[in-house]
């Protein structure tokens, strides 16, 4: 028991909470953080290193090189205050000390042969159901101006940290760095100052007069401008020839308010309003007849409501599946409102070709990228307004196909905020390019990189001789298991599966072909098998701010049984899936799958039975898709911000998501 508990993250977790709460000012640590988040991943891995030439670097082949990055954190950040990243570095070092020989550094640094890497990354590419080579295009689309700068900053560190990255991928790496830097320099600061300012204006609004408020704003603006002056001096030295956004973006923002402060005020108010609008609106309740009718009139997909609805779930859409697909796919050539890429993704969601939250989210974002690329602002219309309306239309189409997952909702909010944030004087192609790159950055940073960081963290929790249980299919968990296997951990995997999707078989197949020792069972037997399990790894669809885990149905059962057997439950979830809503049960917010999937039992003699029973009013089949696991069953959540207890979710949502998504 003792060695098992040894490296648990309790003290570290505390420190994570500590630094978020005492964050001295939004300006100082932020550059540090936004730099270091990716920086860690960059030094330790190359996120976009799937080079088009076919030389692959494994996505999970991450030599941690923590001490190097520790140095980097202090060097790259001009601020003396140790930012969160430094904290994290330190934590990492702590962990390395605790873990001793388990430290992946020992076994990993530069030892992985590229041949085996190729294999891995191929698989991980197909993880999400598409090739990641898109990221190549993406990073190429970044302005190259930032290149020199990053070279200058990183050059010593790069040579020092002997990251096992082939020289062919170097350029790409720099591109990434450039993009990171550009993100940071370009908007990090202006963005950073904003929420604070708004908060203050909001709180002051009641008490202070207009003039007073204006004075305060001016003061803030001055402070911000000076801070930025420093920052942009730093960044601007080398990026002067760069014609593109990073230099440009802050300008209009800075200028616009200075012209007339009333404009800025209006803007602030409007942003406030928009943000209020952006607070996730309550989901449509399908027992509200009038709203449903209204929605139906607009809808592209004509879903037939299932005849035999489950009464408890009347507030959720209960449709019959599968009959409208051929109809819809024939429509693909006669589209007017929906972009064909979005349409395709919608149909894939509808048919279940894409499943898994990350894959769905990425597919959607790529479709949006394509749609934005093909977009032209109609005459006499504003790009921001029109594009938002367009995106709204796409989103409602996607909802018709299949209710959005929480993570997709977050991604859409991010995109809308990006559109809203677009500087007014940006030309259309520039705006489009910027949006596309932002989307790409979101995918890379929030999903792909986050997964790698999670793998890094989670793998420290796997030791020799352990029996790990996982439920269903989660690509993060798969990456963790494969990586742990790759770095030579000896462990056994128990895969628990359940009807109707039987996603566990997919995972089982992948793990067994890689040579992992697997045990497969169904969810009812979970309390039989739990006795021999030492750790439970679960994926997540979303985590709500009360710590409730919203995930594939059955997760709660597994977590509950694990809790009953005193087995630690580790949830792996990217931070972009966190949601500020709260949830208590699995009834109020859920998604219903195809009831026929339940009705069709893989038993020969039952099939005709269920057919004859189909129209019996008394018999219903309920295919719940998700359930919510109470926070008390979760021992730890591994996320890209580190390992935290479920009680820290609201903190993460508050402190990080605001900046990343809203502004």
């Amino acid at each position: 028991m003792d060695p098992r508990r040894g490296p648990l993250a309790v003290p570290k977790v505390r420190r994570v909470g500590f630094f978020t709460s005492i964050e001295p000012s939004p300006e100082t640590p932020r550059p540090n953080r936004s730099l270091s988040g990716p920086a860690e991943a960059i030094t330790s891995s190359s996120p976009l290193s799937d080079s088009p030439s076919g030389q692959f670097i494994s996505p999970v082949q991450i030599p941690p090189s923590r001490h190097h990055s520790d140095n980097l954190a202090s060097r790259a950040a001009p601020v003396p205050v140790p930012g969160p990243s430094a904290f994290r570095r330190q934590l990492a070092n702590d962990r390395a000390l605790h873990v001793g020989s388990y430290n992946p550094v020992d076994s990993l640094l530069g030892t992985s042969p590229p041949s085996s890497n190729g294999e891995v990354s191929e698989d991980s590419g197909s993880l999400f159901g598409f090739q990641r080579s898109d990221s190549a295009k993406l990073s190429a689309s970044f302005p190259n101006g930032g290149f020199d700068m990053t070279m200058r900053v990183r050059a010593p560190q790069e040579s020092e940290a002997k990251v096992a990255i082939a020289s062919t991928s170097d350029g790409r790496k720099k591109n990434v760095e450039a993009s990171e830097r550009h993100y940071q320099a370009g908007e990090g600061e202006s963005v950073a100052a904003k929420p604070r300012k708004e908060k203050e204006t909001k709180s002051l609004k009641e008490k202070t007069s207009k003039a007073e408020r204006r004075a305060i704003q001016e003061a803030q603006r001055a402070a911000k401008a000076s801070a930025k002056g420093e920052g942009s001096k730093r960044a601007g030295e080398s990026s002067r020839p760069k014609p593109s956004k990073p230099a440009k973006q802050p300008q209009p923002k800075k200028e616009a308010p200075q012209v007339t402060s009333s404009v800025s005020e209006k803007r602030a108010v409007s942003v406030e309003k928009e943000r209020r609008m952006d607070v996730p609106q309550t989901q449509m309740q399908y027992d509200d007849k009038s709203r449903v009718d209204k929605a139906k009139r607009r809808s592209v997909v004509e879903q037939t409501e299932s005849k035999n609805k489950v009464e408890l779930f009347l507030h959720l859409p209960q449709y019959e599946r599968g009959n409208q697909l051929p109809n819809l796919s024939s429509n693909i050539f006669s589209l007017d409102t929906i972009h064909h890429a979005v349409y395709k993704v919608g149909l894939q969601h509808l048919a279940g070709d894409i499943s898994g939250d990350n894959a769905r989210c990425i597919a959607m974002l790529h479709a949006f990228q394509e749609a934005i690329n093909d977009y032209t602002t109609p005459p006499m219309k504003d790009l921001t307004m029109d594009l938002t309306a367009k995106i709204n239309g796409y989103v409602s189409f996607l909802i018709e196909c299949r209710p959005l997952s929480m993570s997709m909702g977050n991604a859409i909010r991010f995109l809308k905020n990006q559109i809203r944030k677009l500087p007014v004087d940006l030309s259309e192609p520039e705006a489009k390019a910027s949006l596309c790159s932002e989307i790409g950055r979101f995918i890379d940073e929030k999903i792909l990189l986050a997964d790698k960081v999670i793998v890094q963290h989670a793998v420290t929790k796997i030791r020799d001789g352990e029996v790990l249980l996982t439920y269903g299919f989660s690509c993060v968990v798969e990456m963790i298991l494969l990586y742990a296997h790759e770095i030579g951990r000896k462990f056994r995997v128990v895969i628990v599966d359940s009807r109707p999707n039987l996603e566990g078989q997919k995972l089982l197949r992948r793990l067994v072909t890689r040579g992992l020792d697997c045990t497969y069972t169904h969810i009812n037997a979970v309390s039989y098998i739990m006795g021999e399990v030492t750790r439970v790894f679960l994926g997540a669809s979303s985590i709500f701010s009360n710590g409730t885990l919203y995930s594939k149905v059955g997760t709660a059962c597994v977590a509950m049984v694990a809790n009953a057997f005193s087995v630690p439950v580790i949830v792996c979830c990217e931070a972009y899936k966190f949601h500020e809503r709260v949830l208590l049960d699995s009834i109020c917010s859920n998604e219903l799958g195809d009831p026929d999937a339940i009705a069709n039992v893989p038993l020969r003699n039952n099939k005709k039975h269920s057919k004859t029973m189909d129209n019996n009013k008394n018999l219903q089949f309920l295919n719940l898709m998700y359930d919510s696991t109470p926070a008390e069953y979760i021992s730890m959540i591994v996320t890209d911000y580190g390992m935290i207890p479920p009680t820290s979710i609201p903190v993460i949502v508050r402190e990080y998501r605001r900046e990343d998504l809203l502004l």
Binding site: T519, S527, Y528, V553
Partner: protein
């Protein structure tokens, strides 16, 4: 005798191949087999009871060994042994009483008297003796009397009776014992086949209007229980977990729907999600252990844990033949049975992943498919048996009524 032996063997084979399923069917078959064993058993003049017991035990051991997981077999064998002991005891005490009363009477008179005592007037002394020899609740009086020679009583008394009346009544007494035992076994058969109705009668006390009930797997007892409530015009809703990998929940759901109950089939994984909206979980047990633990269809423990978490009553229906006098040790493993992996995985589908030549040669893929699940007594709210509702903590006492202490270890 060889005839019986062959039927025994046939039944053993069936048990071994798991051809007979369900504890009720097994129990019934076992009792019938034992009845024929008893009726064909040639009884010696002395110690007929022990001869019968030996015969039943011998057969019982074979049966239990054939399917040790089907606890109903052992239960029924013990019940039959208990019946033999009881009948023997009552005969003996009756004989003794008769001898005491009519010492000088002729054979016929004694025979009549014997019958009379056996059937009608159990005097206080006889009752006390009976109580001593069995696991009946010991009264204060018997406790104070001390030295209850439990096992000794029947044998000594029967041999004593033998020696007392050595003449012509031997055969009649022998026949009578066997006759009584078979009567008792018949009674047991009736009890086993009638336990559904007995349990179902109580449904109305437990199910109210608009109740939402969750059940899992397929159990005839549960079906009858729910239908009994339905017949009494109670309107309620039933959630049935399908019970992978055998999906017997679907069968139950169809039967329930056929009888007009509002039924919703859910996946097993949705049990936790739905339990918060459920008023009561009702399941049929495979066996009830003496500590109040339940062995039920796989997945029951999960439902019980979820019910506990949401403070939903977890009710177990069990006929008396499911009450097992043993205390379980590690029942999840020892009283379990692993079924074929093909119920979970298609062999053909995964054959390409399994390269036994590579690596250590041991299979990388294991499939676990247990049949049963153990629910500890702390998770059970109520047992409903044919004698009424009981707490888990009371089960040991209830069980003691049905079995004699000598038979616990077979």
């Amino acid at each position: 005798m060889p005839d019986v032996q062959s039927t025994v063997l046939e039944f053993v084979n069936k048990l071994r191949k798991r051809k007979i399923e369900g504890s009720q069917a097994t129990a019934k078959c076992t009792v019938e087999l034992l009845r024929s064993v008893i009726s064909q058993q040639r009884v010696p003049h002395s110690n007929q009871a022990s001869a019968l017991i030996d015969a039943v035990k011998a057969v019982g051991e074979q049966l239990v060994a054939a399917n040790p997981v089907e606890l109903a077999v052992g239960n029924v064998v013990r019940r039959v042994l208990h019946i033999i002991r009881e009948e023997d005891l009552s005969l003996a005490t009756a004989a003794m009483a008769g001898l005491d009363l009519l010492d000088a009477s002729d054979d016929d008179g004694e025979d009549d008297n014997c019958k009379g005592v056996g059937y009608s007037a159990m005097s206080a002394a006889v009752a006390a003796a009976a109580a001593r020899s069995t696991l009946r609740p010991p009264s204060l009086q018997t406790l104070l009397e001390g030295t209850p020679e439990s096992a000794a009583v029947p044998y000594t008394s029967s041999s004593g009776a033998d020696s007392e009346s050595k003449t012509a009544d031997k055969s009649s007494i022998t026949r009578k014992l066997k006759h009584d035992v078979i009567e008792g076994v018949n009674h047991l058969i009736l009890e086993i086949s009638g336990c559904h109705e007995q349990i179902a009668e109580q449904a109305i006390e437990h199910i109210h209007q608009n109740e939402v009930i969750l059940t899992l797997g397929s159990s005839r007892t549960v079906l009858e229980f729910l239908c009994a409530a339905k017949e009494k015009k109670r309107a309620f809703r039933v959630f049935v977990a399908e019970g992978a990998p055998r999906y017997q929940g679907h069968l139950l759901a169809k039967e329930l729907v056929a009888r007009g109950l509002q039924t919703t089939v859910i996946t097993d994984s949705a049990v936790f999600a739905m339990i918060s909206r459920v008023n009561m979980v009702i399941i049929g047990a495979h066996a009830v252990m003496a500590n109040g633990g339940v062995i039920g269809p796989v997945g029951v423990n999960m439902a019980a844990l979820a019910a506990k978490k949401h403070a939903v009553p977890f009710v177990v229906l069990a006929g008396s033949h499911k009450l097992c006098p043993l205390y379980p040790h590690n029942p999840e493993v020892l009283l379990n049975e692993l079924r074929s992996p093909s119920e979970l995985l298609d062999f053909g589908e995964f054959s390409d992943c399994l390269d036994f030549g590579a690596g250590s040669g041991s299979p990388l893929l294991q499939v676990v498919n247990p049949t049963f699940d153990y629910v500890p007594p702390s998770l059970v709210s109520l047992f409903i048996t044919d004698t009424g509702g009981h707490n888990p903590s009371y089960m040991y006492r209830l069980i003691a009524d049905y079995y004699s202490a000598d038979d616990l270890v077979m």
